[in-house]
Each structure stands twice: as structure tokens, then as C-alpha cells.
């Protein structure tokens, strides 16, 4: 007997088809992961189960929760089911909670909406539930407000709300995507334990195959609103009958062919005991201003030909350090030198022209009012004899061609490009004045895995063509592992470990590096899986 059965679900919003003939089922106590890239319709499938679709959505097909067809029950009955029999956890814990209500009240609300309990009973149950998800009252009183908690703690509150009435089915839509890797591991363990303890079914939506392989009993792979493959986790990974599943798997575990590099002894960038403070909001009226030390005496050197990674979780100071290296913000101690000269907000253009950057957000990195040619040539501002006229056009064409775009793209506006193409344009912009060092600041973090693999390949190709030196900043260990020769691990404003990439990830020395490596979800070894399955049969 299935807990949830989705049969031939079709969904369109206006005239736009979103889901086509989606069918799968979940048994009690089973974890089913729906995975796919953006636009695959995985989140819409989850919202369809909750019947929280946009107003103009039209649905055909059946969504059976036990015997009940959720597409037919109507809003009043659905309200009685939501939170009671089906709970849901969302992606963004920072915004998923009401900022003006206490966490206790918000968890108790789920209980109060559905039952006849009085307020005191509901609060007691809310307390128990919060304790169960790892927020014991001694340390996290019920009177806390969401803004007083971290992202991981807030996600625990959201989970407590979702399971407060012990629903039969829990839906988790990318529950760990916004979290750091160590927090992610904790939340995944919590979800797994809760499923086992309560005997719930879990419908887990995620883009991350590695997360899925650890957690799910069965996997549903979706693309463009259709289910392309579904199966028991190990069998699915062992066989991967559909080419898209294989492509997705390969892109997730993508290993680039990084060319040999020619090192030169001269340092491009020297960071010596760099200290960066941020003023905190004032807590006293007249007392001295207090500061948060985001970077605490960091030192390293980048030489020509270095391809070096910087990994760390959010808040570790890596973005702050990046801004200081780019000369956008002043240091409070130590120094940063590029080509032997000090780096800072007042540095001269010639010096600046040696350092360029590719940012994370493919949508925020470009002035929407400028054409690609103008965007790409912006760094020409730094050099005195920048090419003009035909020479400039030729340079733009060359840069665009180098990153795999067409010279004709120069005349287009940025909104005409996809996320992956935009990152190519960002690389073209960084490349056009041939800087000595490129800083990739989470440059592939916002991209789908298949696009991410393409951009990583592009970086490798450019490395071959232009013998690049770069600093690659990322929170994603698997990416840094393949695209760098050396890596630095940053924690709480300090570099705790540094070394050759393979060594650091293969044999981490610092306890924090070990935690990071252990927490990072990994894809299964397919060959290994196949052998194991053969032995079984």
C-alpha cells in the first residue's frame, strides 16, 4: 500500500507546460528523492502535492495520499491535511519563518491549527518537538525570534513545524541547499532519523546527486517536466539506463583535464599577515566602536602559473579577503602586494590591470543597460593605450570566441543570455586585458551541474591557451579538487591548512579540514556498486 502515489500528473501555468505525465510513488517509511536541474519541474511536483500551486496552474492526473485524491479534495479539506498529514520544509531557512513571531509560537501554531489542544499543551509539545530537532529549551528558549538563530538552527525550527503533528508524509524542497556543508550533513542526518523514528514517507527534492545517493531509498530523475528514470538508489546508479541520468552523473563528478603549468619564481600576489575588521553596529551610545575581525592575519603567496583554491564555509572571511585582494577595501593590518607594489583602494590602474575577477552571480554581474561589447571592454579603462575602433572590435571578438561565444554576441544585451553564457561573458571580461591573475569568486556556484562542468572545462582550456594563474574561491570541495593544484582551507578568518590539493583532501591534517571533507557528500563509486549488486544476485 503506497503512502503517496502520483499518477500521470500534468501541470501547466497559463499556456506553459510545466509537468508532463509525472508518475511515482512513496511507501511509508521510504525516502524518495526527486532530482534534476533547474527547470526540471521537481519543485512544482512538490508544490502540486501540497496544492500550493500558483493561481493560474491547471492540473490533470491524480495525486493519491492513501485513498484521497489531493487534486479533487478542495481547499478546505486540503487545509486540514497540510501540516497535519503532509508537512513541508523549504529551501531558504532565512526567510521561511515569520520574523515577528517567536519560534515557540510558530511551532505551536501547527499544533493549534489542527487540534483542540489548549495553548499550554501546544507549547509543551512545541518544546518537545524543538528539543527533538536539536534545539533544547535550555539553550534555545521558545521565546527566541528567528533572527537570533543561525541558518541551520532556523531550518531545524522549520522541520519542527513540519513534523509537529507527526504527518505521514514529509516533503523537503532543497532543504540543505542554502546551508554550509557541515550543517547540511547534520540536517540530512536529522531528516533520516526522523523518518525512521516516525515511520514517515519523505519526498526529498534536490539538485545534488551526491546528497541523494547517501539518503534516498529510491530516486526519480526529472528533466523538462518529465520523469526520465526512476529506480532503487543503488540499482539506478549501477545501471543508469537513460543517457540524461548518465550525463547528470558525469557532470556531477566532472573531472577536468587540467594542463601542466609553467611556474615562475616571481610572486604575483603576496599577502602578509592581512587583517580586515568590520565595524559592528554600535551597542553603546558613546563607547568606542567595536569591530568584528573577519580576516585574522592571513599570509600566502601566489606565483605565476599557480592555480590555487581557497575553500571555507560562509562567514569564514573568504569574501572579505577577496575584496581586499582586489583593492576594493583597506586592510587594518599587514599588507597585500601585487607585483611587489601595495594593493589598496588608491592603487594605480596599471597595477589593477594585473588582477581581474569573475563573480558568482550570473544575473548581478552585468549592468543590464549595457551591451556585451561595452561590458566586456570595461577593463580597458585601466590601460592607457586601449585599442579603439576596429582593433577594439577584434579584441572583443577574440575574447568572446575564446570563451565559446560568437563575435556577433557583442551587439546583444545581457538579458538575451543564459546563466552559463553569462559566466562566459564574465570570463571574457576578466580575460580581455590579459591579467596576470584571475580571481574566480564562487564563479560556478550558481550554475547547474552540466553548465558548471562546461565552465570548468572552459577554465581548463583557457589555462592551456593562455597559461592562466588563478585564485579559485569556493565552498564546494569537489569543484576545487578538480580545478586547482594547491588549496588553502579557511576557517574563522584564518588559513588552517594549505597544501597540494590531492594531499589536503586525501589526507587532511587539520581537524577542521577533516570535518569538511567528511561532511561533503560524495557520489557512489559506480563500479563498486555494480560488483556489489552482482554478488547479491
Amino acid at each position: 500500500m503506497n503512502l503517496l502515489q502520483i499518477v500521470n500528473l500534468n501541470l501547466q501555468i497559463g499556456s506553459l507546460p510545466i509537468l508532463r505525465d509525472v508518475s511515482f510513488s512513496i511507501a511509508p517509511g521510504e525516502i524518495v528523492a526527486v532530482t534534476g536541474e533547474s527547470g526540471s519541474g521537481k519543485s512544482m511536483t512538490a508544490l502540486a502535492v501540497m496544492q500550493l500551486l500558483p493561481d493560474r496552474a491547471q492540473v490533470t492526473g491524480r495525486i493519491l495520499l492513501g485513498e484521497t485524491d489531493l487534486t479533487k479534495v478542495g481547499e478546505a479539506r486540503m487545509c486540514a491535511l497540510r501540516g497535519n498529514e503532509v508537512g513541508m520544509v523549504f529551501q531558504e531557512p532565512m526567510t521561511a519563518l515569520n520574523p515577528v513571531k517567536t519560534i515557540g509560537a510558530q511551532v505551536a501554531e501547527t499544533i493549534l491549527v489542527h487540534g483542540n489542544e489548549d495553548r499550554a499543551t501546544a507549547m509543551t509539545r512545541a518544546r518537545d518537538m524543538l528539543a527533538r530537532v536539536g534545539l533544547p529549551e535550555e539553550r534555545f528558549p521558545l521565546t527566541r525570534y528567528p533572527h537570533e538563530l543561525s541558518g541551520g538552527q532556523r531550518q531545524r525550527v522549520v522541520i519542527a513545524m513540519a513534523i509537529a503533528r507527526r504527518p505521514r508524509l514529509l516533503i523537503a524542497d532543497e532543504p540543505t541547499t542554502a546551508l554550509d556543508v557541515t550543517t547540511q550533513a547534520q540536517i540530512l542526518t536529522l531528516l533520516k532519523d526522523l523518518v525512521a523514528e516516525f515511520g514517515m514517507g519523505l519526498l526529498m527534492i534536490t539538485h545534488d546527486l551526491a546528497v541523494v545517493s547517501d539518503l534516498a531509498d529510491r530516486i526519480v530523475v526529472m528533466r523538462h517536466g518529465e520523469v526520465v528514470e526512476t529506480g532503487e538508489t543503488r540499482a539506478l546508479f549501477a545501471n543508469m539506463t537513460h543517457p540524461y541520468t548518465r550525463a547528470l552523473f558525469e557532470a556531477s563528478a566532472h573531472i577536468v583535464d587540467l594542463p601542466e603549468t609553467k611556474h615562475a619564481p616571481d610572486p604575483i600576489l603576496e599577502v602578509r599577515e592581512a587583517v580586515r575588521d568590520y565595524p559592528l553596529p554600535r551597542t553603546t551610545l558613546f563607547g568606542p566602536r567595536e569591530y568584528h575581525r573577519a580576516v585574522k592575519g592571513v599570509s600566502f603567496t601566489i606565483r605565476k602559473g599557480d592555480r590555487i583554491g581557497l575553500v571555507g564555509e560562509s562567514g569564514c572571511g573568504k569574501s572579505t579577503l577577496t575584496r581586499a585582494i582586489l583593492g576594493l577595501e583597506r586592510l587594518q593590518g599587514g599588507e597585500i602586494r601585487a607585483f611587489g607594489k601595495p594593493v589598496g583602494p588608491g592603487m594605480n590602474p596599471a597595477l589593477r590591470s594585473g588582477l581581474q575577477v569573475v563573480f558568482q552571480d550570473p544575473y548581478g554581474s552585468f549592468n543590464p543597460r549595457h551591451k556585451v561589447s561595452r561590458i566586456v571592454t570595461e577593463p580597458y579603462h585601466l590601460i592607457d593605450n586601449a585599442p579603439t575602433g576596429k582593433a577594439r572590435e577584434a579584441a572583443v571578438s577574440e575574447a568572446l570566441t575564446a570563451v565559446g561565444l560568437q563575435p556577433s554576441d557583442a551587439r546583444k544585451y545581457i538579458h538575451e543570455f543564459s546563466g552559463g553564457q553569462r559566466q562566459r561573458i564574465a570570463i571574457a571580461r576578466a580575460l580581455i586585458i590579459r591579467p596576470e591573475l584571475i580571481i574566480f569568486d564562487e564563479a560556478v556556484s550558481a550554475l547547474d551541474v552540466s553548465i558548471r562542468a562546461q565552465i570548468l572545462d572552459l577554465i581548463a582550456d583557457l589555462s592551456r591557451a593562455y597559461s592562466l594563474s588563478y585564485l579559485f574561491i569556493s565552498h564546494d570541495l569537489s569543484v576545487v579538487r578538480t580545478i586547482t593544484d594547491r588549496v588553502m582551507v579557511m576557517q574563522d578568518g584564518e588559513i588552517v591548512e594549505e597544501g597540494e590539493t590531492g594531499r589536503v583532501f586525501g589526507d587532511p591534517q587539520h581537524p577542521y579540514t577533516r570535518t569538511l571533507v567528511a561532511a561533503a557528500p560524495i557520489l557512489p563509486d559506480v563500479r563498486h556498486l555494480k560488483e556489489a549488486l552482482n554478488v547479491q544476485s
Binding site: 513541508m88 515569520n98 515577528v100 513545524m161
Partner: protein
């Protein structure tokens, strides 16, 4: 929370101090000698000098500023140049008309705007919303003093439901006094209500799109429950700002409306004072208006902290 209040109080005091300097300086650069003006063209120089001493005009500017501010702090607003009566008493009398009028209008405006705005937001894009939005679009465009004239024309002159103006005083009882203030309050309130309803609507629509509203629905709350329990309080934050600003507009707008209804409020006082060049009265009334604006914004800031816990830990 205490720090927050302290910091707000400090900024309140600074604002008032700076505002008083500005007002004093503006009035002081005014050409012409009030004493000479009061005594007319044929006054003897020594009579003028005596009056200057009596009015304190012979002191240096910093001395006069300190005397003025010090006086206000102890409740002494000086003596009117023309009426020779204490300015404080004149203002107090008039304030008993202007302040109740502004509060009456604020209450009306809130009572109309909140339900209208919430209703429109809940029915976004539906006919009910369109009707509210159309009405507010018109309401925003109507000058309040013209609206007042139209009210007088229809309700007083044609239908004779209200008197066309004047104020019987609070001595005759609360009901007749409030009745005399009703048309002015409506005239002030409706255009402001139109603005406030639009702010309420758009603020609430923003909140309805927030993630936590979806979370609330996922708990099993109906649309209506989610709107009332999670939406309205969050939507209040920008609405409060506008209400704070509106109070000052109601007080100042009242000055114009008082002209339509011949109400003996601050407006009348200030226009009489301007034409008589009774600058000390102008100075004090302007200072009072500015004080009330700053004070209301101070109160709004405190209300923020009550509505939004995120502000309580800040300074």
C-alpha cells in the same frame, strides 16, 4: 531596548535643537523692526526703544535665542507683539481645536484605510481590488480643501446636516464640538486614507509573496488565517512610517482646512500673526508644529521596536 529608546531620545533632542536654531535664524533675518511696525509710522524713537527693551529685542542674537528656548522649556513662549498676551496661552487655546482635529482625522483615515487596503490586497486583481484602487486613485488626486468646500456645499448648504463652519467650543459639550469638527476631519482624512490604503495594500501584497507566508500555508492555515496571523503585522512596518508622516500633514493640512470652516485653530492664529508681523507667534507656532512632527516620528520609531523584534537588539 533601553539603548534603542535612549538613542532615539538623543536624536529627538538633537533634531529639536537644530530645528530651533534654523527657525530662529530664518525669523531673525527678517527685515523690519517689529517694535517700529507695532507703533506705526509716527512713533517717537525713544518709545520704540522702550518697546524694544520690553520685547527683549535689544539683546544680542545668542542671548535672545537662549531666552526664547529657555522660555519654551519652562512653558513661557514670550509675549505676542500685537496682542500683548502670553503666546503660550494663545497657542494652548488654539491647540484645543487643531490637535483634536488632527487626531480625529488620523483615526478616521486609519479606520477607512486599513480595512480597504487589506481587502484590496486579499482580492488582488479582482473587481473588489479594482474598485478600491480606482477610488483611492481619485482620492489621492482631490485637494483636501476643495473636498472640504464640496462637503460644505452639499452637506451644509444643500442638505443642512452640518453647520457650514465655526466652532462652538468644548464648553457646550463634547458632542456639538465633535460635530463641528466632523466635516473638517472627513475632508482631511479621506485623501490621506486613499494614500494609506494604497500603502497598506502594496505592503501587504509584498508580504503575501514572502516565503514565510508559504510556510504558514504549508502548516494548514487557510489563506485568510495566514493573511491575518502572519501578513498584517509584518505589513504594518512600512505603513507605520507613512502614518507618522501623515500626522504632520494632518496637523499642517489642518491649517488650510481651518480656513474653509472658519475654525479658531493654529491656522487662523498663524495667518493673523503673519499679516500683523507678529513674528514671535509665527516662530513659536512653527516650532510647535516641528516639535509635534519630530515627536510623532519618535513615537513611530518606538512602535517599530514593538512590532518588529529585529529592531529591539539594535541601537
Amino acid at each position: 531596548m533601553i539603548r534603542y529608546v535612549l538613542k532615539r531620545t538623543l536624536s529627538l533632542v538633537i533634531s529639536l535643537a537644530v530645528a530651533s536654531v534654523v527657525i530662529f535664524l530664518v525669523i531673525e533675518v527678517a527685515p523690519g523692526d517689529p517694535a517700529a511696525f507695532m507703533l506705526g509710522l509716527n512713533a517717537q524713537p525713544d518709545t520704540v526703544a522702550a518697546l524694544r527693551t520690553e520685547l527683549g529685542l535689544d539683546m544680542s542674537n545668542p542671548e535672545r535665542y537662549l531666552a526664547w528656548v529657555g522660555g519654551m522649556l519652562t512653558g513661557d513662549f514670550g509675549t505676542s507683539y500685537t496682542y500683548r498676551t502670553p503666546v503660550g496661552e494663545m497657542i494652548a487655546d488654539r491647540l484645543w481645536v487643531s490637535l483634536p482635529l488632527a487626531l480625529y482625522a488620523l483615526a478616521l483615515s486609519t479606520l477607512i484605510a486599513f480595512p480597504a487596503g487589506i481587502y484590496a490586497a486579499a482580492r488582488r486583481g479582482k473587481p473588489g481590488d479594482m474598485a478600491v484602487m480606482g477610488a483611492t486613485q481619485l482620492g489621492v488626486a482631490v485637494p483636501n480643501f476643495w473636498f472640504a468646500m464640496m462637503l460644505v456645499l452639499i452637506l451644509s448648504i444643500n442638505l443642512r446636516w452640518f453647520s457650514a463652519g465655526g466652532f462652538p467650543g468644548w464648553e457646550v459639550g463634547i458632542f456639538p464640538a465633535m460635530k463641528a469638527l466632523t466635516l473638517p476631519a472627513i475632508a482631511l482624512a479621506l485623501p490621506q486614507a486613499a494614500i494609506l490604503a494604497r500603502v497598506m495594500r502594496s505592503s501587504l501584497i509584498d508580504i503575501l509573496g514572502e516565503d514565510f507566508m508559504r510556510t504558514a500555508r504549508a502548516k494548514g492555515l487557510t489563506r485568510r488565517q495566514a493573511l491575518w496571523r502572519h501578513g498584517v503585522r509584518n505589513a504594518l512596518i512600512p505603513v507605520l512610517t507613512i502614518m507618522g508622516l501623515q500626522f504632520s500633514f494632518l496637523l499642517a493640512g489642518g491649517i488650510i482646512i481651518e480656513q474653509v470652516f472658519f475654525l479658531p485653530g493654529l491656522g487662523r492664529l498663524i495667518f493673523q500673526a503673519i499679516s500683523a508681523r507678529d513674528l514671535i507667534v509665527v516662530e513659536s507656532v512653527v516650532m510647535l508644529l516641528v516639535f509635534s512632527v519630530v515627536l510623532v516620528n519618535f513615537l513611530v520609531d518606538l512602535t517599530y521596536a514593538a512590532v518588529d523584534p529585529r529592531l529591539r537588539n539594535r541601537t
